[in-house]
């Protein structure tokens, strides 16, 4: 059955008319039109689809969009301000945490939620915080360096 509801993505309200079975990932990409969030496994295993719902990381492939109404959704597009990259994005590039880039948005959203909740996250905290995000290219070392550096510099550091 088609449902009509409002989704708030990156502080912008979108009127959605979509089948109630649609996943949040499918509605963000197909209806809202933000394609930074990726579909990897579509099975809650890989974390490429990670978005924040009320500040907490959620696998958007396995979360009904209709259940996200009234909540604050943040996607990778919500982090940069204008042309200035977010510190996590910049550190990913500078530390070699990006190769094909497909896992990067999800990786950054998980890292953002972790450092937002725990600014003093240790390397072990970061490994556990990113445990639901798979990367097939980098071997993770560059990603770890980027997030450890961001923890040291602070999440709100100006780019």
């Amino acid at each position: 059955m088609t449902e009509s509801y409002t989704l708030t993505v990156n502080e912008v309200a979108y009127s959605i008319v979509a089948d109630a079975q649609r996943s949040l990932l499918s509605v963000i990409r197909g209806e809202v039109g933000l394609t930074g969030t990726k579909e990897g496994c579509d099975d809650s295993e890989c974390g490429a689809c990670m978005v924040l719902v009320d500040g907490r990381p959620v696998n958007s492939c396995s979360y009904l969009a209709v259940q996200a109404q009234g909540r604050a959704i943040t996607t990778i597009e919500g982090l940069a301000s204008g042309d200035a990259l977010h510190v996590l994005q910049r550190n990913m590039l500078e530390e070699g945490g990006v190769q094909c880039g497909f896992c990067t948005p999800g990786m950054i959203m998980s890292a953002h939620a972790l450092l937002d909740q725990n600014p003093d996250a240790t390397e072990e905290d970061i490994r556990l915080g990113l445990a639901g995000n798979l990367c097939r290219c980098t071997g993770y070392a560059g990603i770890m360096k980027a997030v450890v550096r961001t923890a040291r510099e602070g999440l709100s550091t100006d780019s």
Binding site: M1, E3, D19, A20, Q21, S23, D42, D43, S44, E45, G47, M50, V53, R56, P57, V58, N59, C61, S62, Y63, L64, V66, Q67, Q69, G70, S110, A113, L114, E124, R127, L128, G129, A131, G132, N133
Partner: protein, 297 residues
């Protein structure tokens, strides 16, 4: 498909009575529907906005966990970590941080998987669930709830509204450990939970033991009489009883004989962890990380 966003328990119970399936985080229901494997039910009622259903409160000397309390909350709640550590061990191992944020105790219990990480801890802690319908509310022990893989004794018009944890004996503690091949997005290959009660001299008074993923439901080990024995002897007895009473299957993750052997190992380690906690040792949640069980970092 019809979808209702319930704003009160009454609204949710009416919807369930009319045939709707409750959904909280959707980590089982929606994942199962991906790729068209198990289509979503015709009618869904979302229960994640019902006020008060996501709170942890004191109840008859123990705790009452509302059905939509998340695994993330359970794994870090000070009273759960302190008095019901085995349950925190289980919730801390579920899925990934994202799974633990949206996955709920009520959903986990009603999904009735024999591999659920909170199941064995709930059995040894003597937990019950509160089942509500438009006709009233009843309380059922978890032992009586799970009847087969994915099947419970709840009727189709009942909604799980809470999990009840009774007050625990003096000088006791619990622990849950599992065999895992990786540190996230893993399902228990096998697992074991225990509650160990010690006497004043450090000997064992009793051991409750339940096993994960070695039977059609979470399996409570019976006839484990270890009163008066040392912790090491109790761990040995737990190892032997677990391997003896398990009735595992072979599947893609492990053979039956491997499961039968390793569930004993897990049972012994769970006894050591719970006894350590009961004796005042600080063993952090989850035991899997504290003991270095499973895949290395």
């Amino acid at each position: 498909m019809t979808f209702t966003l319930a704003s009160s328990l009454e609204e949710a119970l009416d919807a369930v009575a009319a045939g709707a399936t409750p959904i909280a985080g959707g980590t089982d229901l929606v994942v199962a529907a991906r790729g068209g494997r198990t289509p979503l039910p015709e009618s869904l009622v979302a229960i994640d906005r019902i006020p008060g259903l996501d709170t942890v409160t004191t109840h008859e000397g123990g705790l009452r966990l509302g059905a939509t309390v998340s695994h993330a909350t359970i794994a870090s709640h000070p009273d759960i970590v302190r008095y019901f550590a085995g349950l925190a061990d289980g919730s801390a191992l579920v899925g990934s941080p994202a799974t633990r944020n949206v996955g709920t105790i009520g959903g986990n219990v009603m999904n009735a998987s024999p591999a659920m990480d909170t199941g064995a801890p709930l059995v040894v802690l003597g937990a019950s669930v509160e089942l509500a319908s438009v006709a009233g509310t009843r309380v059922v022990t978890v032992d009586d709830l799970w009847t087969a893989p994915g099947v419970t004794s709840a009727s189709s018009d009942e909604l799980c509204t809470a999990v009840l944890l009774p007050a625990q004996p003096e000088n006791s503690a619990s622990a849950y450990v599992r065999l895992e091949y990786r540190r996230a997005m893993e399902i228990a290959v096998v697992g074991a939970a225990t509650r160990v009660v010690l006497d004043g001299d450090g000997a064992v008074t009793s051991v409750d033991l339940a096993l994960t993923a070695v039977a059609p439901t979470i399996l409570r080990v019976t006839a484990l009489d270890v009163a008066g024995s040392s912790i090491a002897a109790a761990a040995d007895a737990a190892r032997e009883a677990a391997s003896m009473q398990a009735t595992p299957i072979s599947d893609i993750r492990a053979s039956d004989s491997y499961r039968r052997h390793t569930v004993g190992i897990m049972a012994g380690r769970a006894v050591e962890a719970a006894a350590g906690r009961a004796a005042g040792e600080q063993i952090s949640v989850p035991v899997n990380r504290a003991f270095g069980i499973g895949a290395p970092a």
